[in-house]
């Protein structure tokens, strides 16, 4: 069951790589949030009540509700619909993302024997790294800054999955601080998206290349 959810999480990244509508990207974030909650829920019997409450709030309330809601507001305000002009056609995007995901499935199995890997499950580890790498790669090829924010969030989701893969709890204070920071970062980035749209009239990344040393 748990593995199924993780594989679905990996597949959402393929959908992100293959589509261009911003609204469906944000819907995807809701799905990722719910999937992360389900992955967490598989471990609930081993965890303290405080941690369960925290993880529920983090995944369901923040990741699946607050952040997408805020992004929907930003999208509506700035009338953004599609991110068409990626550097690479969507088909190749899909192929490359699939290859990274495939490597995420295969590569960790070679390390299973090593000492450090006792603590972690290879599937968790591989898929979360694949999500992080696909997100970073998509950031470099997309043309709209709102897409960059969305990929930043998927990267954070990947890191969250990675931290679940280690079968150890971090102090709740640290977890809460991390969540707060990430949330405020996304909030600030969202506000900047509004400001950039007001200042430049559109949201192309290429607008933001005026500061440089060579002219």
């Amino acid at each position: 069951m748990e593995n199924g959810f993780i594989i679905l999480l990996g597949l959402t990244m393929l959908y992100l790589a293959a589509t261009s509508r911003i609204v469906s990207h944000i819907r995807l974030l809701i799905i990722q949030g719910v999937l992360l909650f389900l992955v967490c829920a598989c471990h609930f019997q081993h965890q303290s009540a405080l941690n369960i409450a925290f993880l529920t709030v983090e995944t369901l309330v923040v990741k699946a509700f607050l952040i997408p809601w805020f992004l929907f507001k930003v999208v509506r305000k700035n009338a953004i619909s599609r991110d068409i002009g990626a550097n690479i056609p969507h088909f190749y995007c899909l192929v490359i993302a699939s290859i990274i995901l495939l490597l995420g499935f295969i590569a960790p199995n070679y390390f299973v024997g090593s000492e450090g890997m006792k603590m972690i499950s290879p599937l968790y580890f591989g898929i979360s790294l694949a999500i992080i790498i696909i997100s970073l790669w998509l950031i470099t090829i997309k043309h709209k800054i709102i897409s960059n924010v969305i990929e930043f969030i998927t990267m954070e989701n990947g890191i969250f999955l990675l931290s679940l893969s280690v079968a150890k709890e971090m102090p709740v204070l640290v977890n809460m601080g991390v969540l707060l920071d990430v949330f405020i970062a996304i909030y600030i980035l969202g506000l900047f998206v509004n400001e950039i749209n007001r200042e430049f009239k559109d949201l192309e990344v290429s607008n933001l290349s005026d500061l440089r040393d060579y002219e």
């Binding site: 972690i120 960059n148 954070e156 990675l162 640290v174 601080g177 900047f192 933001l208 040393d213 060579y214």
Partner: protein, 476 residues
């Protein structure tokens, strides 16, 4: 005392939000600066060290960082009193400005004082978020570009540093802690492979914040677009706090005897930083960007010194002190230049000496301090580093180091001399005449004090400071 430094700004911010008076806001920044300075001095003498605050403590390593932060913040707050008067913004905006300065300094203090890697991570990210508004303060197209790049690049960097923390957790095996003291105690039993992996991620993550090349792209933009007191804080204190976290993580690898790997990484990053500065310093058209590149260079020197170890560590700490004070003074003076000429373009600034004598001399002496002209303390630190390289037989590294520093020195020196001397053009004279009255006493005194300290430390290091430096060396 630790409680005071960390809790006062929170109370002050709440009061500022309630009172909403410009004079009150500015006064609060000054009160915090003085309180910060007094508390650090008391902590230096061991008074109030045993706070009841969990996760925060003062030890040998972070004491020197705290003292630098306090001194620079005090000077910047003093300068800020004059600088705020030159603003033509509504009072509410100046209120936000003061508010965010408090939060920014609070988060830097939190980073420096935290004794837990997780808490340090949270505060490093908090520094990014709180300084974003300060960089965007002027609300121009360029400042929004700089602020966007800053928040985006640094957030991704810090997120990768968190991956490093997770890997560190894997490396620990059965243990589960992020407390530095615990980590040092158990480091020798950690799994070397995961420890090395975690260092790579943390060096890149916190190195982004520290401004090490090749993760430095946000730095020249942010430093050049922020108001000058903020640039001074960014360069002289923010980069140091990120460096402290790297140093603490490096120590874990040192104890676990994986330090060869860590040293190689630091050395590579350090030399790339020097190289990047040497290449870019010739094409710069904006003098604040030039100072930002000089910060990258100096962070590179710190990384190289840490990698060398041994006697170079003493040099690293001296360099840290010298660079923070000299660069803060340089950035504050650049604020005066900007106020006088109303442009950041190097080509539009001539005859600074003629325009304003005091700014001109401060500009020249800040340059002499940063380029390690004796008796600047940076001369001692760079000399010691070169000596260490020669004694340990790294002749090629030494030659490269000296060559790159000379190229950078020449590049910066040429610009400074062009800006300072020659004749004032006719069309500039009325603008400067009009702006000269804006510069007041508090916009000269802080730089003078900081430069005085830099040049005195080059000939005489007081015994108490020597003790602090020697204690701090043990933490590297």
């Amino acid at each position: 005392m630790i409680n005071t430094i960390l809790i006062f700004p929170i109370i002050a911010c709440i009061l500022m939000a309630l009172v909403k008076k410009k004079a009150f806001d500015c006064a609060m920044v000054n009160v915090y600066a003085i309180l910060h300075f007094v508390s650090s001095i008391l902590l230096m003498f061991g008074i109030g060290k045993d706070g009841t605050m969990p996760y925060f403590s003062v030890d040998n390593t972070n004491l020197i960082f705290l003292l630098i932060l306090s001194l620079v913040f005090l000077m910047v707050a003093f300068y800020n009193n004059g600088y705020v008067k030159t603003f033509e913004y509504p009072d509410t905006k100046i209120g936000y400005y003061s508010f965010m300065i408090m939060v920014f300094v609070l988060s830097m203090t939190g980073t420096i004082l935290s004794s837990n890697l997780g808490i340090a991570w949270i505060f490093v990210e908090a520094t990014t978020l709180s300084s974003a508004y300060l960089i965007y303060f002027n609300k121009t197209k360029h400042s929004i570009e700089a602020a966007w790049k800053y928040v985006f690049i640094c957030s991704i960097g810090i997120a990768l540093a968190f991956v490093g923390i997770i890997f560190l957790n894997i490396a620990q095996g059965e243990l589960n802690t992020l407390d530095f003291a615990q980590l040092y105690k158990n480091a020798s039993a950690f799994n070397p492979f995961w420890l090395k992996m975690s260092f790579v991620f943390m060096l890149f993550g916190f190195g982004t914040k520290m401004g090490l090349a090749p993760m430095h792209f946000w730095l020249p933009d942010a430093h050049s677009q922020a108001p000058s007191p903020i640039s001074a804080l960014l360069s002289a204190t923010l980069l140091n706090s990120a460096f402290l976290v790297i140093v603490r993580v490096f120590k874990i690898l040192d104890i676990a005897q994986c330090d060869v790997w860590a040293r190689a990484m630091l050395l590579i990053c350090g030399f790339i930083s020097l190289f990047v500065t040497a290449v870019f310093v010739y094409h710069i058209k904006n003098y604040k960007r030039m100072l930002a590149y000089s910060s990258i260079e100096n962070m590179g020197i710190l990384a190289i010194g840490t990698a060398l170890g041994g006697a170079a560590l003493y040099a690293v700490i001296l360099h840290l002190i010298g660079h923070s004070l000299a660069k803060a003074s340089f950035f504050l003076t650049s604020g005066n230049v900007l106020e006088l000429y109303e442009t950041k373009r190097i080509k539009s600034v001539h005859a600074l000496m003629e325009a304003d004598k005091k700014t001109g001399w401060l500009w020249v002496f800040s340059f002499l301090a940063i380029c390690a002209f004796p008796t600047s303390v940076l001369f001692i630190s760079e000399f010691l580093m070169i000596k260490t390289m020669l004694v340990e037989g790294h002749y090629v590294l030494c030659a490269l180091f000296v060559l790159l520093l000379t190229i950078i020195l020449w590049g910066i020196g040429k610009v400074i001399i062009n800006m300072t001397f020659s004749k004032l053009s006719e069309d500039k004279a009325p603008i400067i005449e009009k702006n000269r009255n804006k510069l007041c006493f508090s916009m000269f005194a802080p730089q003078f004090i900081m430069l005085l300290i830099v040049f005195i430390l080059g000939v005489y290091i007081p015994p108490f400071l020597n003790d602090i430096i020697n204690c701090a060396m043990a933490g590297f």
